[in-house]
Chain length 189, copies 2
DNA sequence: TTGATTTTGTGACAAATGTCTCAGCTTATT
DNA sequence: AATAAGCTGAGACATTTGTCACAAAATCAA
């Protein structure tokens, strides 16, 4: 749990009392590789703080899977749209490795937010982090070509290259695996 | 101001008292075409509710301008990253037409949020809307090719095609204006 | 209106990417 | 170890997109 408390305190001031209070909204949950944290069609009622392992969000369109995001240790995975609006999720969140997570229950969290301003502020900051991340993602697509996108990821999120397979990364970058393979080849020589 | 109140109440429950309280954070501001609502390097301390006209966000890289978003009537324009983090903006927000806006002052807003839970909730919902919009933007780049992106915009945001020029739209879609021109030609025949 | 500026459409060609295919290499499972 | 399954690298070819050039159309300012 210490990781989570550090994470929270990197976002906002958070008293020991708030931390105590927050416990009632938290449960530990483990996932095996390829397990679903969230399935398409479900309503997202959780935030998943990741203690170990990593996962990805993926759309399934006409049988083919497209990865739209990866979530690593010390980050929160969720479908912010579904979580906020109560509408069904359009995509899956899947464990790429065995994962250990701490689950925030939405109803409990909203209940606590009414009692504790620090918890409400925490929620707002989590959402803002998500908004920033999404903005960054759309930015790299609008501003950069494929090679520049790859270099941006290489520089900004080196763990992507270490932990994510070529095929998965290609899907994330919005190109075929062959194209990504060519880019790598070009950069070696 | 009625437009704004309706907008707010479409997001969250908002009492007349909260509305009264909110007034102290609001000012009217007009922009001429090509005026900056926010300039690169500035810290964003405002939310701009748009009563009339529309604007765009644009990065300037090596002298060329790339549009990353458009903001129309009854929406809020801001740099959510800079607004939330206090870091300088990496891009401009520019008026594409003469604009009439209602400006939320950040400091006043934060001050009021401490007094009124409804105002704090409003802020959280605004951020969530932004996160959703950004998620949608990155989604259409990762899932769709150029023609599909164009068709998605055509279907989902028809006012884009009516009000935004081809060159601006091409930049937004992440292709050259020639490519967008070809797609339009293909679709007519 | 006139003239200047910007925007758009188009063609030719080059470059990038997608599609299809196959072979070699890991990894997982038994 | 043996097998199966998935992942990667590579080539050939088709398609898409970018780049450059120029003309037509639309917009703007005097």
């Amino acid at each position: 749990m210490d990781n989570l408390l550090n994470y929270i305190r990197s976002l906002t001031t958070f008293s020991d009392e708030s931390w105590e209070l927050l416990q009632s909204a938290l449960t530990n949950k483990e996932f095996k590789k390829a397990d679903f944290l969230l399935q398409e069609g479900e309503i997202c009622n959780s935030l998943f703080y990741i203690n170990k392992g990593f996962g990805k969000s993926q759309y399934e369109i006409d049988g083919t899977i497209k990865n739209t995001g990866f979530f690593f240790e010390n980050e929160i995975a969720t479908n912010i749209n579904s979580f906020g609006s109560g509408l069904p999720s359009e995509y899956n969140i899947v464990a790429c490795e065995p994962m250990e997570t701490i689950v925030f229950d939405k109803n409990q969290l909203f209940h606590l937010a009414k009692q504790s301003r620090e918890i409400e502020t925490l929620g707002r900051n989590c959402i803002r982090l998500f908004a920033s991340k999404q903005e960054e993602l759309s930015k790299i697509h609008q501003l950069y070509n494929t090679q520049e996108r790859y270099e941006y990821i290489e520089k900004t999120y080196p763990q992507f290259l270490q932990r994510v397979s070529l095929s998965q990364l290609a899907s994330f970058l919005g190109v075929t695996r062959e194209t990504l393979s060519r880019i790598r080849k070009k950069r070696i020589s």
